[in-house]
């Protein structure tokens, strides 16, 4: 198959294409299991294979994909034809940043391939979890297991040939209860990064059991709690909500295609302008953020992106100053030209596609906040006069330029004079991105830092779901509106 693909790539180059690549998925398989109140509501598996072809012709992209690999010639022709039409309306001829031709392989680390584990064993895990969640106060209990495995063979007209095998495991447990007014409240657990591999071994019964007990206890505390007051306070975000804050208001805001206006018709733009790089005080000096695809074992580490660029660790925000973005080969070239200065040195290796039938776009890798020197969670609480500790991603809504946001969390703990006083329900907070990060007043140390996984980040048209990670510490922000 590789030989046939290389022949087609060469044929299109001879026909005038400036650049051609092909992603062949010999296999992509998934296994989704969901047990709801003890009922196995979903026991599904899937398998797909196919080829996606991307052609750059006279400065414009054409893309075509098909599951039927028997018609390779027609598929490549269609991609070229799509590019020819696109070339009729271009304003900035696409150029790609330089990269080396790479011949390499990558395999995400797992000790036990989850696709070798019998269904009965997976169900036994879920039944055990379901039983542990079946406690007083619990109205609904939900246990999900998602397994993904994809083999991707990437070839391009610049001589690269890369084979990747990516395996993902996303387990979660959740409980739902009803308070005296009949309002629902939930608490959930998805394991953060727990070591250097993420196969079936992720499903550590001891860790899940302890967290099952915790989320039931915390949900029952919420059921009898007072509502979150409408107030202005310090908010202390635990990693279970800080990851999403980072995702929505640093990650998406710093995708270079969004900054350049390529997502305006759907996902939105970014408040960030090219002139902001090197000048915008994005946050306080306590804020250092990076796009790090080199951490072993997270969905945001994938060896090579779908441009064939090796994974990298790049600063985004350095002690509060905006210095970088999430980038691929195309956008860095355009951004540097538009800015009239060299902001970006080569691709950041962040161009990825969700499937063979989608085109690669800039996606988050592991968008992380560096740990700080403000101690443990207890230290931060002790040094907070009036605050609220928040955890659990219940709801999130962000302005179209990522300039403002509203989050609801599963649980809140009010803090008065350095001590946690009591739990509140229906906790929310909102703010504006830049003032919010400039109010960052405490960043927890390594003991508070966790890599949370995001299994379902949506972006693009046609829409794409991507898996990634966020390494974040506990963070405290001051003067934040809560309870609205």
């Amino acid at each position: 198959m590789q030989k046939q693909l290389q022949e087609q790539i060469a044929r299109l180059r001879a026909a005038g294409a400036h650049y051609v690549d092909a992603r062949w998925y010999p296999v992509e398989e998934t296994n989704d299991l969901m047990m709801w109140n003890g009922n196995l509501k979903e026991a599904s598996a899937s398998r797909e294979s196919g080829v996606g072809v991307r052609v750059l012709y006279k400065g414009a992209w054409g893309f075509s994909a098909a599951s039927d690999a028997d018609q390779l010639g027609a598929l490549f022709d269609k991609a070229l034809d799509n590019a020819r039409v696109a070339a009729e309306r271009i304003t900035f001829p696409i150029r790609l940043a330089e990269k080396d031709a790479i011949r390499a392989t990558f395999e995400s680390p797992n000790a036990i391939n989850p696709f070798t584990v019998p269904l009965a064993e997976k169900l036994a895990f879920m039944q055990t979890m379901d039983a542990k969640l079946n406690q007083p106060g619990v109205f609904q209990r939900i246990c999900t297991l998602t397994f993904m495995r994809k083999q991707i063979i990437f070839l391009d007209s610049e001589g690269s040939e890369i084979e990747k095998t990516i395996t993902e495991v996303f387990p979660s447990i959740e409980v739902v209860g009803l308070d005296a007014q009949g309002e629902m409240h939930s608490r959930k657990f998805s394991p953060p990064r727990m070591g250097d591999t993420r196969g079936w071994e992720t499903l550590d019964m001891e860790i899940f059991s302890a967290n099952a007990e915790r989320i039931v206890r915390e949900m029952n505390e919420v059921l009898v709690a007072e509502p979150c007051p409408k107030d202005v306070r310090s908010v202390i975000l635990l990693p279970g909500i800080m990851f999403l804050q980072t995702h929505e208001t640093i990650g998406h805001a710093l995708e270079l295609d969004r900054i350049l206006g390529y997502e305006l018709a759907f996902a939105g733009g970014s408040f960030v302008r090219l002139s902001d790089f090197g000048t915008l005080r994005y946050g306080s000096e306590k804020l250092t953020a990076r796009a790090d695809a080199t951490i072993p074992n997270t969905p945001g580490s994938f060896g090579f992106d779908d441009d064939g660029v090796p994974a990298q660790n790049r600063l985004l925000i350095d002690k509060g100053l905006l210095v970088g973005a999430i980038t691929g080969r195309q956008m860095v070239e355009e951004a540097n030209v538009r800015a009239g200065r060299r902001i970006f040195e080569g691709s950041g290796g962040a161009n990825r596609a969700t499937a063979f039938y989608r085109v690669p776009i800039e996606r988050m890798t592991n968008i992380n906040i560096d740990p700080g020197d403000d101690g443990t969670l207890d230290d931060i609480v002790r040094n907070t006069e009036r605050g609220i500790v928040l955890d659990g991603d219940k709801s999130w809504s962000i302005g179209s330029n990522r300039e403002q946001f509203h989050f609801a969390t599963d649980i809140g703990w009010l803090v008065e004079d350095g001590q946690i006083t009591h739990v509140v329900k229906n906790s929310t907070y909102q703010g504006e991105t830049v003032p919010f990060y400039n109010s960052l007043s405490a960043v927890g140390d390594e003991s508070t830092w966790e890599v949370q996984y995001t299994p379902n980040c949506g972006k693009g048209q046609p829409n794409q779901i991507m898996q990634l990670g966020h390494g974040v510490p506990v963070c405290r922000f001051d003067n934040v509106r809560i309870g609205e």
Partner: protein, 461 residues
């Protein structure tokens, strides 16, 4: 092609029966084309032709499914899928209820929502549409974005309980055009949904865009003070809120699981404005309807709210099986939701602007990134986007920076409803996640709701 598809399904049924496997088969085929624009250029021109097969195997109370992306001629791979589903169901844990396996009493075929001219629209035609809709509106600073998504979709079904088949074929197009200012970052939008080539009207989009661009270029932008406003919602905003209501409102399964702001005691009660009527109406072709559900139940107009009175929950087959309810024909890839119109003749932004008004009116055509804050209260939050206007009572117009609304759907569609347009609009609510599934919601062109609070107001675009 239809014959080949149905024959393939018959062959798979025979294979399953020979193996003693109880199974249902859902065949999905799409031919999708998407031309995407950004920065006044075509940023991507793509197409996919994909065939999916979903196989669900049953063994008493056990159920398991297997799906694959395949080729129509790849019979062996499909048969392997049957074998895998059969193997999975052997190990599946039994449900606490009996899942219903469909029995089709007759074969059913519906291609009425398929227009070959729309399905086969050329690259050149899509580009010409965009050029016409944006003609003369682009400048160095005002740039074009958007998508022209079109294609056709086939759903076909069979099961081992009967030899009858169901077959649905539809064509669709979804067009979004955005004009945005590169420096100021304002953005305005016009959208169109098409089921038939005749639905394509680029001049209408051009008219909408020209009106909005004129105001955004010449009217004074302003940060709105926080407080309550009389708000007129456009079709996109209304459809978005109705979509949320479908998740946390009248779904029987959601209600039973505690995810609804409605309960069984409210059936027959007035919960919304008397001006609010909502029907699932599969006779409206603009919604790309299913006149049979996936279980073979004939679908007819199904009233959900009539003049504010809640008529009853909808039940998919699986929820009905689990909770002992009667299925209502709602095991469908999408519903055909239609919100009734009112008695106000204004149906366009221009007509709204021309209407006499006693108070300031905040026009919000589009709500961005809506999410559910509290499902038990119907509380949702979202921000305005794409062409909001403040129509002052003195006749002047101000361009407001975006604002955030955090409101209960009970408020938005409740007693605060002032009026609805007579004219209804089909708003395309398709997403391009996963398998192609064109859908649209029919809503009044405009609805005014008085006294809604905005909880945040941007200080710039």
């Amino acid at each position: 092609m239809k014959d080949q598809i149905l024959q393939t399904l018959h062959d798979l049924r025979a294979y399953a029966l020979a193996k003693g496997v109880e199974a249902t088969f859902l065949y999905h085929e799409e031919d999708s084309y998407l031309m995407r624009f950004a920065n006044s250029a075509i940023s991507l021109n793509t197409n996919e032709h994909l065939i999916r097969l979903d196989i669900t195997a049953y063994k008493g109370r056990q159920r398991a499914s297997y799906s694959l992306i395949t080729a129509l001629g790849n019979r062996k791979e499909m048969q392997q899928g049957v074998d895998i589903a059969a193997e999975m169901v052997e190990h599946a844990q039994p449900l606490s209820y009996d899942p219903t396996v469909p029995v089709y009493t007759e074969s059913f075929s519906d291609e009425s929502a398929f227009d070959p001219a729309l399905a086969m629209l050329s690259n050149e035609a899509r580009l010409a549409y965009f050029n016409q809709a944006s003609a003369g509106l682009e400048t160095d600073e005002v740039q074009l974005s958007g998508v022209f998504s079109c294609g056709w979709t086939i759903f076909a079904q069979i099961n081992t309980r009967s030899e009858h088949t169901q077959y649905f074929k539809a064509s669709d197009a979804q067009i979004t055009i955005v004009l945005s200012h590169t420096g100021l970052k304002w953005e305005v939008i016009a959208e169109q949904s098409a089921q038939h080539q005749d639905d394509l009207k680029p001049d209408a989009l051009h008219d909408d865009l020209a009106f909005l661009v004129d105001h955004y270029q010449h009217d004074t932008p302003q940060q709105l003070p926080l407080g309550t406003y009389d708000i007129v919602f456009g079709p996109a905003a209304t459809a978005e809120m109705l979509g949320m209501m479908g998740y946390i409102g009248y779904s029987g399964g959601a209600m039973k699981r505690g995810f609804s702001f409605l309960n069984e005691n409210q059936v027959g009660q007035c919960v919304f404005s008397p001006q609010f009527t909502l029907v699932d109406d599969p006779t409206r072709r603009e919604t790309f309807p299913f006149q049979r559900d996936m279980m073979g139940i004939a679908r007819h107009p199904y009233p959900i709210f009539t003049e504010g009175v809640f008529q009853g929950f909808i039940w998919s087959q699986d929820d009905a099986d689990e909770f002992g309810a009667q299925p209502t024909g709602h095991t469908v890839p999408h519903r055909s939701i239609v919100m009734g119109g009112g008695n106000v003749t204004a149906g366009t932004l221009r007509e709204l602007v021309a209407m006499p008004r006693e108070n300031d009116i905040l026009y919000i055509p589009y709500l961005h990134y809506m999410n559910i804050v509290n499902p038990s209260k119907g509380l949702v939050t979202a921000s305005s986007r794409f062409g909001a206007l403040l129509l002052k009572k003195d006749g002047s117009i101000v361009v407001p920076y975006n604002v955030r609304l955090t409101q209960s759907l009970l408020n938005v569609f409740g007693d605060k409803v002032a009026w609805l347009s007579q004219e209804q609009v089909a708003y395309n609510t398709s997403s391009s996640y996963g398998a192609r599934n064109p859908r649209a919601t029919i809503v009044p062109a405009l609805i005014q709701v008085n006294g809604l609070e905005i909880s945040h107001s941007n200080s710039s675009y």
